[in-house]
């Protein structure tokens, strides 16, 4: 595991992190992916609230839900909690 580019002289001291985790895409972890039926969706935003990864967003401008598949791990909590069963877990 010595393929990292920076030498000990180049990295910041004390282990101060220099990359936000938003650059680490965990979306390829999933086997199932949530697909939303916009007709059934009431935009309650419970899915946005419950997602452990913050991979579902409420776009205030568009006034709609958006899934960020770059971070979704396919856990299915959103589908399970959706009050109108608007989300279905389909194989990726």
């Amino acid at each position: 595991m010595t393929n990292q580019e920076k030498s000990w002289k180049e990295i910041p001291p004390a282990g101060v992190c220099w990359k936000p985790s938003t650059e680490y895409l965990t979306g390829d972890w999933k086997t199932y992916k949530p697909v939303r039926d916009p007709a059934k969706c009431t935009r309650c935003t419970f899915c946005v609230i419950f997602c452990p990864d913050g991979a579902i967003h409420w776009d205030a401008q568009k006034e709609d839900i958006e899934f960020d598949y770059n971070f979704c791990k396919g856990c299915g909590i959103c589908a399970n909690e959706c009050p109108t069963d608007a989300i279905e877990m389909t194989i990726e």
Binding site: T26, F71, C75, M89
Partner: protein, 320 residues
């Protein structure tokens, strides 16, 4: 005493996450949901500190960090001491004019590992000294990060890697330590229990904990599908069933006065709503050995102790 912050689901949904995506928690990890929701209650400049554990490790794999707030981790048993040092520094630096913010909130996160057992000394000390911080316990009922070993927060009958369900012994033989009640006994300003399914209640309590002048303790129930051997998609639902069976009742103690919260209050007023513990236990693999003839006496005991603690709680809330 509290500002009674009013918010809608969309207010919460719109608020940017201070616990950012891209962390390496398991799929369906509810402690991660707890962290996100507690941070939604942040009201301004905030410094966060974590004990060693799942949430610390998944959010800070060098060089990546999931923390949009300033953040520090030092060791396993001392997150309350971490918070004490930060709070003391902020206090004096503000006095000396070297910190310009009016208020900076300090939040300490730890699992049941870093709270019930190895962390209890630092927690008790910090609370006794009255530091102004919010301590959030994300309780997944075992030392998950090191491989699902039993903790003081593991409930009776649960199978963990150091209290496995074998042919002779049916999982953990001891009861779950009543950590929140222990904290109330410290005469601290605010103690509350919360479950992520009841997100509005959780966020409100986190905000109250931040507003309180002095130490606040929030015991958040946080199912772990990996350790509990349950379906990841059901993780939030399990946190609902825990409340509905009174295994994890929701309450607050403001200056030592107990009061039930919404969903648990509803059960107290209408005992018919209380669900049998089986509904909670059947969906988790860590309890499956209890559904065999040899160990079903433990099931009975779980129901009994749940009822006993529920009745004790009702008494404290002056509802019995």
């Amino acid at each position: 005493m509290f500002t009674e912050w009013k918010f809608t689901a969309k207010d919460i949904a719109e608020k940017p996450d201070l616990f950012m995506s891209g962390h390496r928690a398991c799929a369906g990890c509810v402690p991660a949901t707890v962290m996100r929701l507690v941070l939604k209650a942040a009201r301004g400049p905030t410094i966060v500190t974590n004990a060693t554990g799942c949430m610390e490790v998944v959010s800070s794999i060098y060089p990546y960090t999931s923390w949009a707030t300033p953040w520090i981790h030092t060791a396993f048993e001392n997150v309350a001491a971490n918070a004490s040092g930060i709070e003391a520094a902020l206090k004096i630096l503000k006095k000396k004019g070297r910190v310009k913010e009016e208020t900076v909130d300090v939040i300490a996160f730890a699992g049941d590992g870093g709270t019930y057992d190895i962390g209890i000394q630092a927690l008790s000390g910090a609370v006794e000294r009255g530091h102004d911080f919010l301590y959030v316990l994300y309780d997944n009922e075992a030392y998950m990060n090191t491989g699902i070993q039993r903790s003081g927060g593991t409930p009776l009958g649960a199978s963990t890697t150091t209290s496995p369900a074998g042919t002779v012994i049916p999982g953990k033989l001891q009861y779950k330590k009543p950590i929140a009640d222990i904290m109330v006994a410290h005469y601290m300003p605010y103690v509350a229990t919360a479950s992520p399914y009841f997100w509005r209640d959780l966020i409100t309590k986190a905000r109250r904990g931040l507003e309180v002048n002095g130490p606040a303790f929030l015991h958040a129930f946080a199912p772990c599908p990996r350790g509990w051997r349950s379906d990841p998609s059901k993780s939030v639902e399990i946190s609902r069933t825990a409340v509905e069976t009174c295994i994890f009742p929701l309450w607050e103690a403001v200056n030592g006065k107990y009061q039930l919260s919404g969903p648990s209050n509803a059960i107290a007023l209408n005992p018919g709503k209380k669900k049998p513990v089986e509904e909670y236990l059947t969906v988790q693999g860590r309890f499956k050995h209890l559904f065999t003839p040899k160990f079903k006496n433990i099931l009975t005991e779980i129901q009994r102790i749940t009822d006993e603690r529920w009745q004790n709680l009702l008494k404290k809330c002056e509802m019995r």
